[in-house]
Each structure stands twice: as C-alpha cells, then as structure tokens.
Symmetry: C2
C-alpha cells in the first residue's frame, strides 16, 4: 500500500501481492485502509521512500491509532489479540543520509531538518525554525523546498539564513538521490534563489564552518583545531 | 579499517581481508592510514557504525584530503590518476533513524541533532544550539549524551529544554539500536536526569506536540488538525 510512484519503484519485489496505490495527498485514506486491512487479519506494509519515520507515514499510523484507541503491539511481544495491530516500523536510509553521502559529508556535525511545506504546518512556525537554526549555526537541511504552488518559501528561507551566514556558504542540492535522473550540485548560498529546485530536491545549507573541496561539501568536526592533520607520520 | 568494536560487528563479512582496527580516539591516525593505503593503490574501506556521514568518519577524510591537497575523485568519473583518491561514501541507516523506528515515529516532523560531546566542540556553542532548538520547538536528538568523564552535560541540556517544554514532554532513550543488549524506553522530560544513559544511548526529546501512546512516542505532522482522522469511512 503506498503512493503510486513509490509502489512503482519496488514493483519487482512485490509481484504476486495485493497492491493498493493511491495518488499524492491521500495519505489519511491510505493509512486508514492499511489499518482496516491489518485489523481484519491481513499482513500489510505501507511503503514510504527513504525512511518511513522521517517526514513520512509512520507518524500518521500512530496518530490514527491513538485517535481510534486501537492497541498497537510490538511483534516481539507476542501479545496480539482481536482489535489490536501488530506493528513494526522498518527503518531505511533517509534522504538526508543518502543525499549527504553524494555531496561528501555535510552532516558530520550538528544539523537541523526543516520541511518548507506549509500545507500542514503554519508558515510562522517554519520561519521561526529557520531563524533559530540559522542563529545557532546548524547545518540546515530543507525538505519539500519548492513546488509549483509553493514558489516563494525557499527564497524567504535563503533571505533569513543570509542574515547570519556568508554569501559563499556552501549549499548542496541533491535531486532523486540514488534513483534515475539523480543530480548532485554544490553552489553558494547567495545563488540559491537561481537554482533549479523542486519537490524532490533536498537542500543542504552549510554551517559557518562547512567547506567546499573540489565538487564536495563537508562539515569539519573540529579535528583540525585539535590535531595536526596536515602532515603525514 | 575501523574502531575495534565496529570491526568486530562485521567480522564475518570481512574474513580474508586485511584488517586494521584501532582503539577509540585514534580517528586521525586511522583515517591517515586509510588515505596512505588508498594512495598506494589499495582498495580500502573505513568502517563507521550507522551512517558514516552522520557524526562519523566521512567528514574527517575530506578534512584531511583538503589539508593535504589530495585530489578526491568520484568512482563514476573514471578520472583516477597518480596521487588521487577515488572515494565513495556509502550511506547507511543512522542511529537517528534506527532509534526512531524502535520508539515509534518521533521524527515525522522537524528535528535537530546535537552532539553533547565537548571534546572537539566548545560547550558554549553546544548550549547555544540546545537553547535555540528548544525555542524553535524542534524534536531534539542528542548524541554522545554522557560518558564517565562527561557527567553533567545531559542534566544541563535537560534544564535548558525544561525552560521551554512541559515536564511531561515525552523522551525516548534507545541504547544499542538493532544490536545485542538493545534497550528502548520512553520517559518524561522531568525524569531525564535520573535515567540510565551512556555513550551508546541516543536521546529523543519530543517537541511540544510529540505524544506518547502506549509504549510508543510519535510526532504528529498535522493531519489531525486538517482532517477528521478519528472516524472510519
């Protein structure tokens, strides 16, 4: 059960299984249907891309189960009974990790992840998070940076962060990480508004110590301040 | 090549290979040795636990290569030459994702990751990051929360966050995620100072909207504000 595009990605793994796929923005219907299937005794998987617990569907399963007072039970407990759901959240490699690996190593020090989608979150709160993440010098990872209907949010985020970071702060853009049509690019913060960014792009904005080296971007963890790392023993 | 404990975890995968393992805090020596091996034509892997790019060794490889002006080349480019290193960062499932999956779904909305280790980072900066992450209502994930030599930092973090969050904010503690001696526990923020926390524990501190349900912890993404998720169609 999943969003059509994600189900298509694993077609070969699920041949012979019953497949329910729905279009985007039908998340609630999809999870309700999965819960019903599970309550009626079927074994059912909800597919997300990346890690299902990072900006994905796992939270909604718990949100609905709590609302409906459905008992949720861990598989290893062996306590499953009528009216309960045995649930396992299977972790994956989130976009924040796969994207970082393609850029170099932007996340080897503290970082904050923020979704720019204001469909379910008030923009004021998103802006507050960007501002404080910038003040505290986190590497900032932006999810859902831009869509056809949400065109201005990324520019606003850029303006806020530029109050606290240099123009030439490295920014990494990763689109379709580890998939067809993958693209990986590093630019400077001052050029972010001109970049080709869409819903499938993850944006990595460096902290004040993040560096560019060749086509890579990384965030030192502080070894060079403490050790002599330039010379070979 | 890696820290002894991590090399031990994959013993079966690397039988027959040359293995160089070193004790903790020898990160620079380890990475220098790997770079030397690679420069002299060997194919060499540096092992980290979780994802090598999240609080792990990938950053140090770039840090040293830049300092030593060693060319780093992507495997797919096919441009490798004398004096250069062909480097691939292989992403993994970071502790933040595996830990979250065991707790439920604490990271389905914006979050910040902070290491409490002040060995390489000034404590003032760590404190500033905790404070701003708390003000901006991020779910806060703490790495390296406590060791024998660093006993007070976690209590200080708790005090700061309690200025902005309720006493009963859910906190998840995951130790040895997906390994032997795994332990998973949810407590309230007011009890964090009494909890059994060590260097191998990842601490997940809920935002103001994170909830506990049964033994689980999750962060709603906002569906219940927009949709009627309590009733079944």
């Amino acid at each position: 059960m999943g969003y059509t595009s994600y189900v298509d990605l694993i077609k070969e793994l699920i041949s012979g299984k019953k497949i329910i796929s729905t279009s985007m923005k039908k998340e609630v219907d999809r999870v309700q249907a999965a819960i019903e299937a599970s309550l009626s005794g079927s074994c059912c998987a909800i597919i997300s891309s990346g890690d299902p617990g990072i900006y994905a569907m796992a939270g909604l399963v718990f949100e609905i189960c709590k609302k409906r007072s459905i008992q949720v039970i861990k598989p290893e407990s062996g306590l499953e009974k009528e009216g309960s759901i045995c649930l396992e959240v299977v972790p994956g490699i989130p976009a924040v990790a796969s994207g970082a690996s393609l850029l170099g190593a932007p996340l080897t020090h503290d970082f904050a992840c923020i979704s720019l989608s204001d469909l379910l979150t008030p923009w004021d709160l998103i802006e507050k998070r960007i501002e404080h993440a910038a003040i505290a010098d986190f590497v900032i990872v932006l999810f859902n940076p831009k869509s056809k209907k949400r065109a201005w949010q990324l520019n606003k985020a850029q303006d806020i962060i530029l109050k606290y970071r240099n123009d030439d702060t490295p920014v990494g853009l990763v689109k379709n990480a580890m998939r067809k049509k993958q693209s990986v690019l590093t630019i400077s913060l001052k050029d972010l508004h001109k970049a080709d960014v869409d819903m499938l792009t993850t944006v990595f904005i460096g902290s004040s110590v993040s560096e560019k080296y060749l086509d890579y971007m990384y965030t030192p963890r502080g070894y060079s301040g403490k050790y002599d790392i330039g010379s070979v023993k």
